[in-house]
Symmetry: C2
Subunit: 209 residues, 2 copies
């Protein structure tokens, strides 16, 4: 496409580098900004700059934070002996939204993926092993994606943690039929796992309350 | 949703003000920027600021431009007696991409829309009437959207231009069956119009070459 202006071409090039945004959407966004008051463009640009410059990683759990230690890690009322291992901040937010989890987190920063070139050293695995060594941790909950890469990472972590002197209990989140889902549309692997990992009925009743 | 960081919340608020981008997409974009080198955030922010500050409107046709007069209006090889009236810069780009139009443009900045509160004075209609008064214009091609608002604007412009001393010939772009479209899937109004505005076969053959 040929643009009537270099400035327009430049902003479209920049915006369309973002994932899931093509040239056409970028043009629409640029023309939208043009119609809005200048303050909107300014505050958008400034928050992008500020975000990248000032955002921190919690030095304990590696979650995104404004401080050295994030609010969850700093919260004394939470159970610091229970650590849930997740891929990124979106997973932390999803679990926090349930309002059911009172432990702390460890954000890996992804999963091991030979295809995408992510090796164990790219993740915060060493930091997790050190945490287990230094802190009093009873249980590690592995809450990674139910994908091949997620399973590989689960297995890698399980083996690494097993080699430690103070090996914690390791569990993974249950895989099964989602609440509200119909049995006939569930894939065979999930269905087989959900039968294999069946739960005593009395326990299930209590959770439904 | 509760965010683990004020900075993250701020950037998500800003990004999700853009049309078609929700909080979830904004979060994904923010986390993407976080993983990229700082230069990418910086050049994105700077091109947003620069775009809004430095972009100009061509003072002749009101198209987006880097200069006082845009490249199309400054091009002496184009036919300045033929003016195509369009809604915005995207329409100019679309017509330019056909490579078939050698006249110039007039960018209205939208169409008259009582529902969205756009009145004739919000558009560059006065400027168009002045152009017709000052320049030598033989023909005005109305190339607005085939919507109720587009038709209203067409009619308004047609009447206004008819009141001028130097009233130009006014035409609208043809509405009919798109090239490649099947007859049975065409709506009745378009089909009726395409029969009504039929074209001599010899003329149609020449265009197909």
């Amino acid at each position: 496409m040929e643009y009537p202006s270099k400035l327009l071409e430049e902003i479209i090039d920049q915006i369309s580098q973002l994932p899931g945004i093509g040239k056409r959407t970028a043009l629409r966004l640029a023309l939208y900004l043009l119609k809005q008051p200048e303050e909107q463009s300014e505050s958008l640009a400034h928050s992008i700059l500020k975000f990248k410059k000032e955002i921190k990683q919690c030095r304990v759990c590696h979650n995104i934070s404004d401080k050295e230690v994030c609010d969850i890690c700093a919260d004394a009322s939470r159970d610091h002996r229970l650590v849930c291992v997740v891929e990124d901040v979106r997973d932390v937010m999803a679990i926090e939204n349930t309002g059911e989890y009172k432990g702390v987190y460890h954000v890996l920063g992804g999963v091991i993926s030979p295809i995408e070139g992510v090796s164990p050293s790219d993740l915060t695995i060493d930091s997790l092993l050190q945490r287990i060594d230094n802190e009093k941790i009873n249980e590690i909950i592995l809450a990674l994606s139910a994908t091949v890469d997620g399973d590989t990472t689960n297995f890698y972590l399980y083996k690494k943690m097993g080699q430690l002197d103070k090996a914690p209990v390791v569990s993974t989140i249950a895989r099964g039929i989602a609440v509200g889902e119909e049995l006939e549309y569930t894939d065979e692997i999930t269905l087989a796992r959900s039968i294999h990992n069946r739960v005593p009925f009395e326990k299930a009743i209590k959770q439904n309350k």
